[in-house]
Subunit: 272 residues, 2 copies
Amino acid sequence: MDIGIVGLGLIGSSFARAVKKYTDHTVAGWDIDPNVLSAALADKAVDVAGEEAASGCGIVLVCLFPGDAVRFIEDHEFPHIVCDVCGVKSFLADRLSGKVGGYVGLHPMAGREVSGYGAGSADLFRGASLIVAKDGHTKDAHIGEIRALAEKIGFGRIIETDPKTHDRVIAYTSQLAHVVSSAYVKSAAAGEYVGYSAGSFADLTRVARLDPKMWTELFLENKENLAAEIDNLMEHLAQYRDALKAEDAKVLSRLLGEGRDKKDMLDGLLKD
Amino acid sequence: MDIGIVGLGLIGSSFARAVKKYTDHTVAGWDIDPNVLSAALADKAVDVAGEEAASGCGIVLVCLFPGDAVRFIEDHEFPHIVCDVCGVKSFLADRLSGKVGGYVGLHPMAGREVSGYGAGSADLFRGASLIVAKDGHTKDAHIGEIRALAEKIGFGRIIETDPKTHDRVIAYTSQLAHVVSSAYVKSAAAGEYVGYSAGSFADLTRVARLDPKMWTELFLENKENLAAEIDNLMEHLAQYRDALKAEDAKVLSRLLGEGRDKKDMLDGLLKD
């Protein structure tokens, strides 16, 4: 089986490097930037470069932003399996599932605060979770082939869900975290933070370093879910603020206790 | 110089262990819980146990919650220097500075998600920041003695500021982070998070595991600053949500770009 990889940025080049490092598959790669393609060939991250070569493989991973991924997949023929790897899934499934044979939507839960070919790594996915968003059109045999490849390149957990569930949960676990980090750094007090944190400030603001173009697209393609999560968080924040302003120690302590108990419960889920 | 430590919880027992490990000072410790005192003597975390022995030392660190710290310091005589180590500073300075000779307010920027004597460590403060909140009553010679001790036990940075500045900045860097984490876990989607995050969810929720009693007291003693920071964060969050609901890619991209640029600037400050 040959693996085709379209788009050799952080995620695409990491897939290429991982397939080369951990499997015997041949990799055919394609990127709009000829310098990236040359580098990938020189690094042996891909064996063959070419748009037709990549899209003609048995498993094709289209590692482009969502709109570009839809256009690329609609514009090409694929012999067997074609996957996108975007952070939203309904937007893709609505346009591709049942219309493009062999389509399987994926979301690898891995990333970095830097992007592009040079940021890729054969080990980016080691231990990470791979989400497979399936619907009535997705073939079990295709999922089996994706699972086999994902296990070889080191994913630690493979989750099968449907596009709607993916988008609802990801709005909370990932997209909201990026919005909060981005908003958190905007306080006037931020410039004075050095020496004033034991780690919580770094944790809260880490993912503020993001690619605005990519995240704007992802957010707008999942806007109802994300807006609902922002509203929900704001409602909870208002409860703490109101208790503070009312100097209500009992309510404040209850709110904090409920948060601690919920956090304990959530950490417990990881052990199941 | 003997070091007195009153309250042998996470912070107090860490100070005791650090002084014993890294200096030649004798440690006199005191705790309301006789089992803790026995354990501290058995572990050689303290050399001598006793309320008068501890409060009679040349440097006394009162490692109690703010209200208890004020009461203990008001109720005792100290021969030279007495410090609290609370996460708010104006509440203490307003009650003690200029009234208790040798008072110096400290805030060690170190902690853990667990508390109590057993959670302490001689290395809790290695590389951490120690904030010294001084005002017109604080003697430079006392700060010099605190600095010398802090450097010996491994603090990586010592910052001198005034109580008001401390409380304003800490409301943002630490207290707001705890409020956001506590609120963040309360989404209905939280129970489905396993497999749906590459790390941002863990980062955003880490400090939700907190001691509700301690943080309720700290928050109420800094309520104007903290309420203002919550309001400010909510105003920023509303901007992202409004841009989403209006499907305004230009505004959303600008908001995210401003956040990324601010984060880059803030990270740059650490290198100065």
